[in-house]
Symmetry: C2
Subunit: 259 residues, 2 copies
């Protein structure tokens, strides 16, 4: 059987690193070190989770069983290269980076991808967040599954191809829906009415989408193929031509989908 | 002072008519009649709110103080024409139809526009729903404000221009965000993972958006200008070319916005 790990080091001090380090600390893991490109960020995170900030990345693995690389996607390989020789398990947390980015450097490696939008100041219920795991071996798999299950009730296996699809889905469902909220807000501002008039609608739409199939919950002029209203809306967006064009494109997408 | 109204008739048996009739009944109004293009729908709605279905639309106003026209936008003028001569107040409930559509037919008219996505089976908290009012006179304004305040704590005045902007904002914030959820779901399905893995992300994104300015809450590859990830995502969407194109367009919109 694989050994249980107790000591974890983290590379990174961004939103994911911040939430993971603090959640792991709460679950009784010892956070043995934090390294970040920006030392003062590493120190702030280390203080928040009873750890120490490492000045030299090569020191990061010193007494750790597991190193979590939670840095920008494009920096993952550089970090992996800088800690090569570490003989524990190394995982990254990225949706769209293959496990192969680590396999060249480490015998025991994997991926621990939490599907959520993190902000430093905003607490999240970690137990509800789906974690997606990939591992270089069955032993590694068992070990990082134990870590993931200590944080969350929703732990799945997903290979690198599935994970990138997950990330794409998340971009649409979260980043792009947020863009739609932002555009809605801008339009509201132009009407002189307060932005909170949109809040019940935003929440209700999200609630409906997760209560069943959002495809079946679609409403609005495009769903009804109400071309009179669509044209009125595009006309009133004349002063925001980019949004007028986007409105038409999305209306056409919906009309086609429900034909 | 305007007289208080107690008797309300409704034209329409769709989602808005259904929710309004039942909410008004609960507030003690007498629903004197329901007319719908589809008589059996009118009868079903009438039964649910202790009213009667009218076979002839010309009978709808018989003992009512107020008629609410809650039909498809393009049918509003036909209904108004069919009940012309009614000497109470007539309002419609549409976001994108001007009050002028009623002014030709009625001296006392207005608009009562609830900004929410209604489904027949889904209960809503009417008190939270913003209602937007427009009126042909101060007297009518006072009367329909009384009706609106009996249903909701969020009652605003908005002229026809503001109301159409509200409707456009709602299309982006609700209909188009729902399209983003739908696309996210389709991508998840193609990965073989269960769609509920997206739910926490959808809810959290909506919650964040209403806790402040969604513009500031934007995350994701386009927000970080992470072109490597963006290109990977567009590549993996090759089998869904419409979504690949949409992905790029929205990524470009975000990149420009945050430059």
């Amino acid at each position: 059987m694989q050994k249980s790990i107790t000591k974890i080091a983290l590379a990174g001090s961004g939103n994911i690193a911040w939430h993971l380090a603090n959640a792991l600390k709460l679950q009784g893991y010892q956070i043995t070190g934090i390294w970040s490109r920006n030392f003062s960020n590493a120190r702030a995170l280390a203080e928040s989770c009873g750890s120490v900030a490492c000045e030299e990345i090569s020191d990061l693995g010193k007494s750790a069983d597991l190193i979590i690389i939670a840095v920008a996607d494009k920096a993952i390989e550089d970090v992996a290269n800088a800690i090569r020789g570490f003989d524990g398990i190394v995982v990254h947390t990225a949706g769209s980076v293959s496990i192969d980015a680590l396999k060249d450097f480490f015998k025991n490696c994997g991926v621990l991808y939490p599907l959520q939008t993190f902000s430093k100041g905003t607490p999240v219920n970690m137990r509800e967040i789906p974690f997606f795991l990939e591992s270089s071996s069955e032993n590694v798999s068992q070990t990082i599954k134990q870590v993931a299950l200590s944080l969350s009730d929703k732990v799945y296996q997903a290979d690198s191809h599935q994970r990138i699809l997950l990330h794409v889905a998340a971009v649409f469902a979260a980043n792009y829906s947020n863009l739609m909220y932002t555009i809605g807000n801008e339009v509201i501002k132009s009407s002189g009415l307060p932005q909170e008039v949109l809040y019940p609608l935003i929440l209700e739409t999200a609630r409906k989408a997760i209560s069943g199939d959002p495809m079946k919950m679609q409403t609005g002029p495009a769903r009804r193929n109400d071309t009179t209203t669509i044209e009125k809306h595009i006309e009133i967006l004349a002063s925001l031509p980019e949004y007028a064009e986007l409105y038409r494109l999305l209306a056409n997408l919906i009309s086609k989908k429900y034909k």
